[in-house]
């Protein structure tokens, strides 16, 4: 009985009309809740402006920002210079040639591609073969109109590589799968899954800094030095055209 009486009182239109300021306040609170207190924070910011930190720290920050900008400019200039040198080297070595993949053997006892371009187009034995994504392998033999590419996963493939940022060098050893093994040369190597592997400047076969793949799994227990499984970045199964130089 009491509950019904109370409900009747609560829903009394006269009472509701009389208490409109409270209802308005409740609605305002609801808006604040939905906006995650945006109005409240803005109000707080304006209200506390006289008590904000002095300009000294602001100047320090601006100075640090200027310093960082200068560093970035210096870094970019160095990179630009490196890029220009790299480009000059590339021009010396000749342009990249494109070739179609006409035969693909990517699983089994040997892993190779046959390209529909050969010595007549200027492809030479030992040329690096890349695809969108990264390095695929190197040309192992050529005929006038075809070239055979030894893929990185082939058991006889050995490539000098390093982790991006010059953190560790090693040999990428093909083992008949699409995830070749990276045997590090140094025992104390800082490597984590996700690290990018690129061709080493020490390699006499491949141009330096070509992306090879990403570290997928690391075995620190391997002897004499840690080993990692590398997920190759060029999707060899899906590639129909490659670049050769």
């Amino acid at each position: 009985m009491a509950l019904r009486t109370n409900l009747k009182r609560l829903l009394n239109p006269r009472l509701l009309l009389a208490s409109w300021p409270w209802l308005l306040l409740l609605a305002a609170f609801a808006v604040l809740r939905i906006s995650k207190g945006a109005l409240l924070l803005d109000f707080y910011a304006q209200a506390t402006r006289p008590f904000w930190p002095g300009s000294a720290q602001q100047e320090w920050l601006q100075k640090a920002q200027r310093f960082e900008d200068q560093q970035r400019i210096a870094l970019l200039e160095a990179k630009l210079q490196e890029q220009q040198q790299h480009q000059a080297l590339q021009l010396q070595k000749g342009p990249w040639l494109t070739a179609a993949v006409i035969s693909r053997n990517i699983q089994g006892w040997w892993q190779q591609l046959i390209l529909g371009a050969g010595a007549l187009e200027g492809i030479r034995v030992g040329a690096a073969v890349t695809a969108p994504g990264g390095l695929l392998g190197r040309v192992s033999s050529v005929t006038p109109s075809t070239a055979r590419v030894l893929l990185l996963g082939d058991p006889s493939s050995r490539v000098a590589v390093e982790l991006q940022g010059k953190r560790g060098q090693g040999i990428l050893v093909g083992d008949g799968t699409s995830r070749p093994r990276l045997a590090f040369l140094d025992k104390d190597v800082e490597v984590l899954p996700g690290d990018v592997v690129i061709t080493s400047p020490a390699s006499t076969i491949f141009p330096a800094n070509l992306i090879v793949g990403v570290v997928q799994k690391v075995n620190f227990e391997a002897t004499p030095a840690p080993e990692a499984l590398i997920q190759l970045s060029a999707p060899v199964k899906a590639i129909d055209w490659v670049r050769v130089r």
Binding site: S103, Q107, W109, W110, T177
Partner: protein, 172 residues
């Protein structure tokens, strides 16, 4: 003479087809990305019809051609020669080979031997393939599955054009 010429033409044509299939590696006929061992499917019927010498010779010839198609320097010649010679022993078999599962079994053993020889050669070169078992198993299964169908047809084909199976027609 005309018969022999036809036979050699058929041998060259089918051999060429084997090389083309090995190069083209059609994705329709693959198990887990591994193709069947086309050369075994080609050599087995030829050897069981033509005998050990023709079998071994065809094995050596096709082995040389297959080795030329891959750059890894793994050789299939010794095993193919051996297989051709072994399968040639079945030329005088009393049982009708084409009607039994024997062809499938022979193809299975032949593929196992060929894959085993590749694994041994890699081992000898201090290289290894982590997918060796997977490759061997997939190729052996697929080849043994196709062999009873394809090899029995090829056995009948080679017998039809082989002079030793041609019987003079009796006068009516």
């Amino acid at each position: 003479m005309a018969i022999a010429l036809d036979r050699s033409r058929a041998l060259f044509a089918t051999g060429l087809l084997v090389l083309l299939l090995t190069l083209a590696n059609p994705s329709l006929v693959q198990l887990n990305g591994i193709p069947p061992c086309w050369v075994v499917l080609w050599l087995l019927p030829w050897a069981v019809v033509e005998g050990p010498v023709a079998g071994a010779t065809a094995g050596i010839a096709m082995g040389l051609l297959l080795d030329a198609l891959q750059g890894s320097n793994l050789s299939s010649v010794p095993v193919l020669a051996l297989l051709g010679f072994w399968w040639g022993q079945f030329q005088t078999a009393r049982r009708p080979l084409e009607r039994s599962t024997t062809l499938g079994l022979l193809a299975l053993l032949g593929t196992l031997l060929l894959n085993g020889s590749y694994a041994l050669q890699l081992y000898g070169r201090a290289e290894f393939s982590r997918a060796a078992w997977q490759t061997t198993l997939a190729q052996t299964l697929l080849t043994a599955l196709i062999a009873p169908l394809m090899c029995s047809l090829l056995v009948l084909f080679w017998r039809r054009i082989s002079p030793q199976y041609l019987q003079p027609r009796s006068p009516q």
